[in-house]
Amino acid sequence: MKYGILIVSHSANIAKGVKDLIAQAAPNLSITIAGGTEDGGIGSSLEKIQQAVDDNKGDEILAFYDLGSSKMNLEMLLEMIDRTIHKYDVALVEGAYTAATLAEVDSPLTTIEDNLKSLKIK
């Protein structure tokens, strides 16, 4: 698969919920998630994000996040690894859903990004 989806949230339940939602629209995509801290609390864990990136089977990863430290941890990881990860500052649920739906039918990145533009909120 050309693209995989990565969901990073402060909450494990949000991450899982978003995955459940978009997996229905994109059953063939690799969707991996990093939610909450290592001890199950609310927060962001670089290790969890790293694991979710490692587990993702996409050639390139489309990454979506919710709050500030998810974004900072994601950016920190981007500086540390070689994989191609596209990070989008868009509404998490709508953005991930849009990207997953389009990636599922092998839409090119330009199409996916065009559709994400109107969802940019941060």
Binding site: G43, S44, L46, G68, N73, M76
Partner: protein, 195 residues
């Protein structure tokens, strides 16, 4: 002026001690303008730093700062994890140059904070402590008064970055918790330099 390994270790150790003993104060500051967990988060980070340094004694300055960075990144959980983590990681890379002055080291850490937080001075963040300290070190005028003045300035600012920015004018009059934990970092540095 440069900080040698033995002094740098003391610096980090003192910082960790201050984070652990001031957990409640940091939580209270964060409760006023944030989500109330900065003290708890930083204490968790502090314990991770201590554990990592005990597990493997750092042999170089780069090792020391890198170990500190990774413990913070992995265990803090809140936004201060990637922020402190980036500052120390950048410092760890830079310190491989033997000629690096302490003032340059702190400026590199400050620049890391600005990059990671997409922020700058005047936004009521930890940068409002790091940058004045860095400037004072460059001018060879670094002492407690620099930190006190920085915190006083932070108190009067309206937050325009981070969660406190949602409070707008109401954030005025409170010390930013990240600025306070940064003050502990640099008060630790003064203790080391003063010896």
């Amino acid at each position: 002026m440069k900080l040698e390994l033995v002094d740098a270790k003391k610096w980090i150790t003192l910082f960790v001690e201050k984070l652990e003993s001031n957990q409640t104060i940091l939580n209270e500051l964060d409760t006023a303008i944030g989500d109330g967990d900065h003290g708890t988060n930083m204490k968790r980070g502090a314990e991770a730093v201590t554990a990592a340094l005990e597990k493997k004694e750092p042999e170089t300055l780069a090792d020391l700062y890198k170990t500190t960075a990774f413990a913070m990144i992995q265990k803090v959980g809140g936004a201060s994890g990637p922020l402190y983590g980036t500052a120390f990681l950048d410092m760890s890379k830079a310190v491989k140059n033997d000629d690096l002055e302490l003032s340059d080291l702190i400026q590199i850490g400050t620049d890391g904070l600005k990059r990671r937080g997409e922020s700058d001075t005047g936004m009521k963040t930890m940068i409002d402590v790091w940058q004045p300290v860095s400037d004072a070190l460059k001018a060879d005028k670094f002492d407690q008064s620099v930190i006190d003045a920085a915190l006083e300035n932070v108190k009067g600012l309206v937050a325009t970055k981070g969660r406190a920015s949602y409070l707008e004018e109401k954030s005025k009059g409170h010390i930013d918790p990240g600025a306070q934990s940064s003050a502990y970092l640099f008060e630790s540095l003064i203790e080391v330099l003063g010896e």
